[in-house]
């Protein structure tokens, strides 16, 4: 199992009252699989993904990612771990506004000191998401869908073992969405990346190997998808 989550619980203090948004979640994901996480808004999908990727600390429970107990390590160790093995696509892209599209894609490699030698990989990825003409543009000069595609290219550029994607197609039109999804699937197959994807789009979820449904912070169903 490449992802093992045990007894995950996340409680926020909002306005002095504790609010439990994830309750006793157990989840195991097999290597190279494609898991879709679905659920109504506010059910805790983003929270779960953030915990699995080590972007936030759980109130209780542990996460073992590729054999590493990530909350037993320091912030810096987690960051290094991400730099080597984890990719993340945000619900709202989060590009660095001061960097061009190409530079944004290069950041994960730069952080590992490999920006120069693998530059062509970034150029390649941008071409594959259909942005070869926009490499020198700043995020503010790109449309939402274009920014989302830059974020995708960035998530893949360092060939992560696991990719977490939070509604990566939420901002895209039908055509572009299809393109992005097929890229995701291709990368999942070719680079043997484990893919955990949050989506509202049931037709997209159906293409996954497995569909996990969340409601009120609990897993309410876990069944194989159409891609299995």
């Amino acid at each position: 199992m490449i992802i093992q989550a045990h007894g995950l619980e996340k409680t926020y203090l909002s306005g002095g009252h504790p609010l439990t948004v994830l309750r006793d979640v157990d989840l195991e994901v097999a290597p190279e699989s494609f898991v879709a996480v679905v659920g109504p808004s506010g059910s805790g999908k983003t929270t779960l993904l953030g915990l699995l990727a080590g972007l936030d600390r759980p109130t209780r429970g542990r996460v073992i990612l590729d054999g590493v107990d990530i909350f037993a390590s320091t912030e810096d160790e987690r960051a290094e771990f991400r730099a080597r093995r984890v990719g993340f696509v945000f619900q709202s892209f989060h590009l660095l506004p001061t960097l061009t599209a190409l530079e944004n894609v290069l950041v994960p490699l730069e952080l590992r000191g490999e920006g120069r030698e693998h530059r062509d990989r970034a150029v390649d990825l941008l071409a594959r998401v259909g942005l070869s003409g926009r490499m020198e543009h700043y995020p503010s000069q790109l449309s939402g869908g274009e920014q989302q595609r830059v974020a995708l290219a960035r998530a893949f550029v360092h060939r992560p073992r696991i990719l977490f994607a939070d509604e990566p197609t939420g901002n895209l039109d039908g055509e572009t969405e299809k393109g992005v999804v097929s890229i995701l699937e291709e990368l999942n197959r070719e680079s043997r990346t484990t893919l955990v994807l949050v989506t509202h789009d049931l037709s997209l979820a159906e293409r996954a190997h497995r569909i996990v449904a969340l409601a009120n912070g609990e897993i309410v169903s876990d069944r194989p998808g159409g891609g299995a």
Binding site: R84, P108, G115
Partner: protein
């Protein structure tokens, strides 16, 4: 526009987030505090002096002359006295006083006072009640310093001239003299009868003759002036009233006026910049909500009003706090300056200063907030949909131009209000505009230079940090202006402060002579020198003094010249009629500088006439310049001379200085006395020397002014403290501005750092990226500000403050390093949360 909605929105919005930004409003608090403190303090001094004017003069009117009051004036005084006006005559002269008990001798001021003086205020003596009874009974009262200087006690005897007087008491407080004066030149007090029988006053003695009159009715005073003005003028009797004296005193306190004005102005402008950056941060943080409100249909004007109200509210709160702080400082200042001020200053809350502070504070807040607030109007609704949307098209916006003009107008107005003169204020404003323009220009060219010479070979954190300097949303220009201006103001004030303090120190330096000997006869010079301790002999300088009067200028007699009242060449009375004590010197003295003409080694065609060098004021009053001829009467012999140079003299230095200095040799053979200055390190040495001097040369007087120096030093260290205290205000305001302007970018940098972290950046890498950017900005902007500060102070110190400019490189370097370190520190501190906390919080969509 929906005003009601705007008000409600303002109230609701300010609940949120204002606390974070509120800290930066502290800059306006400091500005207003400085303003209120300075203005109230000036009011306090002026009022206290006015209230105590009669007490300070001791009477309503004073007549004074350096010669016995002439008959014409005495007749006036007598007739007034006959008409019921209280009159008291006071005569002051210097005399060597011997204390047989200790054997000490000293030159001391002796004042003979008639009963009644002073008419206002009360004299405290110990034992109490001795004034004036001890005097009328033939005793002597002394300033406490006399007791220590002559090592005597109450009941001991003093020998003054032909009289032996019993010390009946010490004068602890005579309201007509300032605290430090008695320390510098302590006095003894006797009755006029005692003075006469001591036989000190002979014709030509140096003395000051005064008559004090009590005329409480202002109209009667005025009548006296109009009636006898001419008599006083002709007889050269100085006439002064309590009110006139009060005005003179107030203006003598203005010695720090320009400096205080600069401090107040600097603190206020820093306050303005602080407000601008605080509002900038605030608006930036509120952009998303503004965008949403715009989407929901709120009008530009409504939103703008809502935020303007918030800015005004913050300005009001900040200024109110400033008023409170200012009133506290106002209370500290009289204490800090105790002993320096001419009167006891009682602080009173000045409504004018308080309301002006409050008004100016709110006004400055609103005006400086306008520029960043206009952003609110320009937030495109589209931003609600696209976070990174930026309206690239910058239209020409009349409102923006108006806002900038408003800021400019405010700055000009502030400068004019704060500066002692309008012209000076306009000059300040012009200079400040140039500084801001230069800083902005520097920031702009920095972005271009960095782009041009991008370090593309450097490691990633450096490249990322450097690219932040010129990429979209860079803060290079705004930070350069804010940081640069902050350091400019602080640097200028510190430079000026340093130069002022240096000047105070130079006047009373370590190796200055501290003993002055006068009335030495020519043949006694070697003998007196021999009495000096060996170590002091070499440094002792003897200067001949020759009494002379001016007989004629250009061959025309003084009487003739003065009679021609219409002529522009009519010399002023004080300069043409006075008795001159001239000297001849081989070299220029340490307190002199040539302003025109050459010294003796510079050849000049004089037609055989001896050359003379005049001090600039006296030359102007005599209406003469280089090449003009002056005829002197030296002990009955007429000597015609030619003016060969004009000198500037720093009279404040304790050195023998002269109006007229002759070429060496000219005065040889003329009857002369000699003065000598020397430095005797040790107090014991000085005492021994003075005792042996009195024994060997009783006609020679010695003045030990090391005590005067001590007293003056104490006064000056107070002034120094006060200057440093006020200067610290601008430094603090500068700090707040620094923090405020850096926080403008904090939230953006925080999101970036969180993002880099999810992408796998280690803390060290993020730190390095931020460091590169902040260190680059901090060092460059600060250096620019400091260079401009040096230029500005080099211009202002000699012109405005009339002291020599000294570069305080060490202090400036310290400012440079500490601001650069602070910039990096504060910048990093703003991102510290992100370094220790999980990044999801920051990145989760709000």
């Amino acid at each position: 526009m929906r005003f009601g909605f705007a008000v409600r929105l303002a109230a609701r919005e300010s609940r949120h987030g204002i606390r974070r930004v509120g800290v930066y409003m502290a800059s306006i608090t400091l500005g207003v505090a400085a303003l209120v403190a300075i203005h109230s303090f000036r009011d306090d001094v002026a009022r206290s002096v006015r209230e105590q004017a009669e007490i300070l003069l001791g009477a309503d009117v004073r007549l004074a002359s350096n010669r016995p009051l002439p008959d014409s004036v005495t007749r006036i005084v007598d007739s007034l006295s006959a008409a019921g006006v209280a009159v008291a005559r006071v005569t002051t002269t210097g005399s060597m006083v011997l204390a047989p008990a200790s054997g000490d001798v000293r030159l001391i001021q002796l004042q003979a006072v008639e009963p009644g003086y002073p008419f206002y205020g009360s004299v405290r003596t110990s034992p109490s009640g001795e004034w004036p009874i001890a005097l009328t009974e033939g005793g002597v009262l002394v300033d406490p310093a006399v007791l220590t200087q002559l090592r005597v006690d109450l009941g001991d005897t003093l020998v003054v001239g032909r009289e032996r007087l019993i010390i009946r008491g010490a004068v602890d407080d005579l309201p007509t003299t300032l605290g430090y004066q008695t320390a510098v030149g302590p006095r003894i007090y006797v009755s006029p009868a005692t003075l006469a029988s001591a036989g000190l006053l002979t014709t030509g003695s140096l003395a000051r003759y005064q008559a004090f009159l009590r005329i409480p009715d202002p109209e009667a005073r005025q009548a006296l002036v109009t009636r006898y003005e001419d008599v006083f003028e002709q007889t050269r009797v100085r006439f002064s009233t309590a009110d006139g004296q009060a005005q003179e005193l107030s203006s003598s306190v203005e010695f720090m006026g320009e400096f205080l004005a600069l401090v107040g102005l600097g603190a206020l402008l820093l306050g303005g910049i602080g407000v601008a950056s605080a509002i900038h941060v605030y608006v930036k943080e509120r952009r998303p909500s503004v965008a949403v409100l715009r989407c929901l249909g709120a009008r530009q004007a409504t939103l703008f009003t809502a935020y303007l109200l918030q800015a005004a509210g913050m300005g009001l709160a900040g200024s109110a706090a400033g008023v409170v702080l200012g009133v506290l400082v106002q209370r500290v200042l009289p204490w800090a300056l105790a002993g320096v001020l001419p009167v006891a200053v009682t602080p009173r809350i000045s409504l004018v200063a308080v309301s002006a502070g409050l008004g100016i504070g709110v006004w400055v807040s609103v005006m400086f907030a306008l520029v960043p607030l206009l952003e609110v109007r320009n937030v495109p609704p589209l931003q609600a949909l696209r976070r990174d949307f930026e309206d690239a098209t910058r239209r020409r916006d009349p409102a923006r131009v108006g806002a900038y003009l408003g800021v400019l107008g405010t700055v000009v107005l502030l400068c004019v209000i704060e500066a002692p003169e309008v012209g000076l204020g306009l000059g300040f404003a012009g200079g400040l505009s140039v500084v801001v323009a230069l800083l902005a220009g520097f920031g702009w060219s920095l972005t271009h230079v960095v782009r041009r010479f991008f370090p593309s070979g450097a490691p990633y954190p450096i490249r990322q940090g450097v690219s932040n300097l010129f990429r979209p949303r860079n803060q290079t220009v705004s930070l350069t202006v804010a940081l640069g201006f902050g350091t400019f103001v602080v640097g200028t004030i510190i430079q000026i402060q340093g130069s002022l303090l240096d000047d105070l120190r130079v006047s009373f330096g370590e190796d200055r002579p501290n003993v002055l000997l006068f009335d030495i006869q020519e043949d006694q010079v070697d003998g007196v020198r021999a009495l000096l301790p060996e170590t002091s002999r070499g440094g002792a300088t003897a200067t001949p003094l020759v009494s002379s009067r001016i007989v004629a200028i250009h061959g025309r007699s003084i009487a003739d010249l003065r009679a021609d009242t219409a002529s522009v060449d009519r010399p002023e009375g004080w300069a043409s009629r006075r008795e001159y004590r001239n000297t001849s010197r081989v070299e220029l003295g340490p307190a002199e500088a040539l302003v025109e003409g050459g010294w003796w080694d510079d050849p000049m065609e004089t037609g055989g006439l001896p050359r003379v060098s005049l001090e600039e004021d006296v030359a102007e009053s005599l209406r003469v310049g280089v090449g003009d001829r002056i005829t002197w009467n030296v002990a009955g012999v007429e000597i015609e001379s030619m003016v060969s140079s004009i000198r500037q003299v720093d009279w404040e230095r304790l050195e023998p200085n002269f109006f007229a200095v002759f070429e060496p040799g000219v005065l040889d053979g003329a009857p002369q006395t000699v003065i000598m200055v020397a430095r005797l390190e040790d107090a014991e040495e000085r005492a021994v020397f003075q005792r042996s001097l009195v024994g060997a040369f009783p006609n020679v007087s010695a003045l030990d002014f090391s005590r005067a120096q001590l007293a003056i030093d104490a006064v000056l260290s107070r002034v120094r403290q006060a200057i440093a205290f006020l200067g610290a205000f601008s430094a603090m305001a500068g700090m707040v501005v620094l923090m405020g302007s850096l926080s403008a970018s904090a939230s953006q940098r925080m999101r970036e750092a969180a993002l880099l972290k999810t992408l796998g950046a280690r803390r060290g890498q993020i730190l390095r990226i931020l460091l590169v950017e902040y260190v680059a900005l901090g060092t460059l902007a600060t250096a620019t500000g400091l260079v401009l500060a040096v230029i500005a102070s080099a211009v202002m110190v000699p012109t405005l403050f009339q002291v020599a400019f000294h570069l305080h490189a060490g202090t400036l370097a310290a400012i440079w390093v500490s601001v650069a370190v602070l910039t990096a520190g504060v910048g990093l501190l703003g991102s510290r949360r992100v370094l220790t906390q999980p990044p999801l919080e920051v990145l989760r969509d709000r």
